[in-house]
């Protein structure tokens, strides 16, 4: 028996008797019993994937793809933010095999989650700073609308660098597109003109073709007639009777000529 065979056999046996593995079961059971841990594990993985995606976005060159990925990250963040309260409730629940310190720790973890979720970069710049700056203006907004004009300016300029770049790119692409469309429209105009000229030319040719048709028909019928007549004439000429008569007469003439020649000599 080879090593590989051994290994496969050992693997299959282990898999079969996994349910008797005490340590493993305990681990699984803990996760199985502890909904919080399971949930928390899920959360962690989701946050990890979101962070990975955020990293990809920074490397992404295509703006449209970057925007799409940012939108997805934001959606994930929203979903996670919704589920945080659920997790919090689970955190407070008492589970067997857990110490009070661990329980408190769990609570802290859950409280830290929202901050972690917000920290995931999703394309909106200056998240934490904005929240601190916006906080007072959001509270006062319902009362006075133009209160934060100055602050408006700061934030305004801060945001406009990226957006002005975007706008520039948009304008350039629009101009290029318009140029392309202009060329296409010119080409189409030329094509349309040529097509309608061709149409008129063909219309012009139609009566001529009809005339040609009638003339050729007449010519073919004439030819057929002539052919038939020619055939008859040639047949008449070629009849063997006439041919023999011709030969006989020719011989007679030659004979007479020879006779005369002899007589005159």
């Amino acid at each position: 028996m080879t090593v590989i065979d051994l290994l496969t056999r050992v693997d299959s046996i282990c898999k079969k008797y996994d349910k008797y593995d005490v340590d493993k079961q305990r681990e699984a059971n803990i996760s199985g019993d502890d909904a919080f841990a399971r949930f928390y594990g899920d959360f962690e993985t989701q946050i990890e994937t979101a962070l990975e995606k955020a990293e990809l976005v920074t490397k992404e060159k295509n703006r449209a793809a970057a925007v799409a990925m940012n939108a997805e990250i934001r959606r994930t963040k929203g979903r996670l933010a919704e589920e945080v309260p659920k997790l919090q409730r689970l955190a407070v629940k008492k589970v067997k095999g857990l110490t009070t310190e661990e329980l408190a720790a769990r609570n802290d973890l859950v409280l830290a989650l929202p901050a972690r979720i917000e920290a995931i970069p999703d394309g909106t710049p200056g998240g934490p700073k904005n929240t601190s700056a916006w906080a007072p203006s959001t509270t006062s907004r319902p009362d006075i609308k133009f209160d934060s004009d100055g602050r408006f300016d700061d934030d305004y300029f801060q945001e406009s660098h990226e957006s002005s770049q975007f706008r520039q790119e948009y304008e350039m692409r629009k101009i290029k597109q318009e140029q392309g469309l202009d060329m296409i429209s010119e080409g189409l105009d030329a094509l349309k003109n040529m097509a309608s000229d061709m149409n008129e030319e063909l219309d012009r040719q139609v009566p001529l073709m009809d005339e040609i048709d009638t003339k050729v028909d007449r010519a073919t019928s004439d030819l057929k007639n002539t052919n038939v007549r020619l055939k008859d004439t040639v047949n008449q000429l070629r009849s063997s009777r006439n041919f023999c008569i011709d030969i006989v007469l020719l011989c007679i003439v030659l004979g007479i000529a020879a006779y005369l020649y002899n007589v005159l000599k």
């Binding site: 105009d189 030329a190 003109n193 309608s196 000229d197 219309d203 012009r204």
Partner: protein
């Protein structure tokens, strides 16, 4: 037969002259000899004599009551006359050929003959050329083949433009429009109307151009076409004195699909009178204000 064309000519002449010994002219033999003589002359580049031979051959064919061959010979004679630059003979020969073709009942070759004549005389005797073109167009219209007349109308209008007789040129374009209307050739019709409007504008005749545009707009096919849109843009640009707009319309693809001479006129279009027209319009307003 002797290969010397001169001898053939003299022999043929003798065959056609009536003398005491010859009581009826032998036209058939004479015509054959004339044709051969003409070929011989042409081969040896003696065009004058070839032309004379062809003339006589044509007369022979005519007497023999075969107008088609007669006409063909006449046309060849005319082509030779063209090479020799004897212009009045060119016109005469082509006219004769055209009459013979009409005798055969073939309108197309008749008008073709006149068209060839006109083209030959375009540079040298433009008035005659115009007359020939008009006659050719009439022949085709009588026969109901208006579509063939388009090219002739266009050529005739070009000659008028070269002579700077712009109203006549515009009239011809309108006639082209009528012919096109009969055959439902809407594209040619609209192009003809646009050309007429441009010609009027080139002749500084804004009122006439507007009148022309209004008249042509009565016709559905023109109203819905690209050409009428370009015409209206051009006229509004003229009324507002907007030279940029005029130039833009003149270099647009609609105008570039017209005849070369019209394109040239269009490119030259704002012929300096635009501001004057604008001032006239302003003057009218002032008068109204004062009263």
């Amino acid at each position: 037969m002797s290969s010397d064309p001169d001898k053939m000519m003299s022999k043929a002449d003798k065959m056609t002259k009536l003398t005491l010994t010859r009581w009826s002219a032998d036209w058939r033999g004479a015509t054959e000899l004339y044709e051969q003589a003409a070929n011989g002359f042409r081969a040896s580049n003696k065009y004058e004599k070839a032309k004379v031979a062809l003339e006589k051959a044509s007369k022979g064919q005519e007497v023999q009551a075969s107008p088609w061959d007669a006409a063909k010979h006449m046309e060849s004679a005319a082509a030779l006359a063209q090479k020799l630059s004897i212009w009045n003979e060119v016109a005469d020969f082509y006219r004769k050929a055209s009459e013979l073709y009409t005798e055969c009942g073939r309108a197309q070759p008749a008008s073709d003959a006149l068209g060839k004549a006109a083209r030959a005389l375009e540079d040298v005797k433009p008035d005659d050329a115009i007359q020939l073109y008009t006659d050719a167009c009439e022949i085709l219209e009588e026969d109901g083949r208006d579509q063939m007349a388009f090219d002739l109308y266009r050529a005739c209008a070009n000659v008028y433009i070269k002579l700077e007789k712009f109203t006549d040129a515009a009239t011809f374009f309108l006639r082209l429009g009528v012919a096109a209307d009969k055959c439902d050739a809407t594209n040619s019709q609209c192009k003809a109307y646009l050309s007429a409007i441009i010609v009027y504008l080139y002749a500084h005749d804004l009122k006439q151009a507007e009148k022309c545009y209004n008249d042509c707009s009565q016709i559905d096919a023109f109203l819905k076409s690209d050409q009428s849109r370009s015409a209206s843009r051009l006229l509004t640009a003229y009324n507002e004195g907007d030279i940029e707009e005029i130039k833009k319309v003149a270099s647009s693809s609609t105008v570039s699909n017209l005849d070369h001479s019209i394109i040239k006129l269009a490119r030259k279009l704002p012929t300096g009178d635009v501001t004057a027209i604008q001032m006239n319009a302003n003057d009218d307003l002032d008068e109204d204000d004062l009263t």
